[in-house]
Symmetry: none
DNA sequence: GTTGAGAATTAGTTTAGCCTAACACCCTGT
DNA sequence: ACAGGGTGTTAGGCTAAACTAATTCTCAAC
């Protein structure tokens, strides 16, 4: 592996740099800047540590840092972040479908493995799974070339009453909450119809395909990303 | 709270501690002490770094350090080392048989993954493979309980003169050394015979199947893990 | 019984990545 | 237009794990 001199080989990012880049990616997915304190909260470290790292990363060209404003990924940083996200989501898919892991537990395992696997291993796993496009939580998997589908999803909390939707993605990584949602039958791919919502940020009531109903509190409803379906479906 | 005070929880070994323990295990598999400079050579670090780590590890009870003599694993250290070796060999087996990895290069991949996988994942893999007892190189896999069959691989530096062996594993991931060894024809699977060894930690001289010879310095010989073959082979 | 080569250790430095405490900046409310 | 609160950054310190240079130990040869 030492043709490193001709092709500008990525100088092997450290584990924590990889984590910072992933955080910035997630925090800027809606556009705008990622703030120091949001990154700190997401990584569970102190804000000054983030400031220091931001300085280093902007010197190495992975992020653009506007002091007192926040940061964004450069194209190079975005490429690295997407690679980590591909690794993470392929790992989650593989662990779930080939090694019987529960969808609530895979996140933690993938979080450690994503820093240790080679690209070769990830591609072998992706191949064994038939190049999956979505992970077990319904999140899109970036391609090896670094392209990711732009989801236009709406949280269940925002769907109008009466609208049929497909639950596309569950935006959470806490095992307990995921376990609960799975018990309720609220997993990616499920079709449901919003039949009521109570006022003052109250729960949303949905009907599943089997005509049973579920009451979903706002906190959870905000994590259920849906694609609306035409009425007649 | 603070049940941690009564039951001495394994305080999560660092990656490099895990590597040190593995080295000591391999270097003492024939009995006796592992020396500072052999550990340093095997891990490709400077001897003073080893001295420092030996001090720390003996304070935490993982090794027994006799200054100026060498080190041995305590029962606790041996347990940790065997756990790493189980991880390593299960990973090698799984990558080879389930993901089409080549016999010769699973080692490098496993070397990184062994520090990141959970016990749960290893047991799932072992289960999927039907609890294998030997890895793809023929080395015995310790049980989850930490028992290992006494038929360990031996480094080329320890093989007696005259003994024919099969080179099973190259215990290194430094590209320069691997490249050199490959140029010399010293890759996993090769059969060779030890025809001489020079004194004072001098080089080992081996004959290959094509009757050419190679002179292997001690530093490299410590990385070449061999299985002895009966004389008549 | 001394001595010197080679191995091991101590001493001091470096880098990455985190921390807390103190200070600087920005912006909104009055 | 400026005062304060909250967010961001700077300053300084700590630990793990590596390094080099200097020192100490061991043991075998004379």
């Amino acid at each position: 592996m030492n043709a490193a001199l001709r092709s500008p080989e990525p100088p092997a990012l450290t584990r924590s740099v990889e984590d910072y880049l992933k955080s910035v990616f997630h925090l800027t997915s809606q556009g705008g800047f990622a703030t120091t304190s949001d990154i700190a909260a997401m990584l569970a470290i102190a804000p000054p540590s983030v400031s220091g790292m931001m300085k280093r990363l902007s010197e190495t060209g992975l992020i653009e840092h506007v002091p007192y404003r926040g940061v964004q990924l450069t194209p190079q940083g975005r490429r690295a972040a997407l690679q980590m996200i591909r690794r993470h989501r392929i790992l989650e898919s593989y662990l779930t479908s080939r090694l019987g892991f529960d969808w609530g537990d895979v996140h933690v395992e993938a979080e450690r493995l994503e820093h240790a696997v080679s690209d070769k291993l990830i591609e072998r796993m992706a191949d064994a799974l038939g190049e999956p496009r979505y992970d077990p939580h319904g999140a899109p998997i970036p391609t090896a070339a670094g392209e990711i589908e732009e989801a236009e999803l709406v949280t269940l909390a925002e769907i109008e009453v009466g609208r049929p939707v497909t639950l596309q993605e569950v935006g959470d990584e806490h095992p307990e909450r995921l376990k609960y949602l799975a018990e309720q039958g609220l997993t990616p791919g499920v079709r449901l119809t919003v039949i009521d919502r109570q006022p003052f940020n109250g729960p949303t009531i949905v009907r599943l395909a089997d005509d049973t109903t579920r009451v979903v509190g706002r906190e959870l409803a905000l994590l259920l990303f849906c694609r609306p379906r035409p009425d007649g479906a």
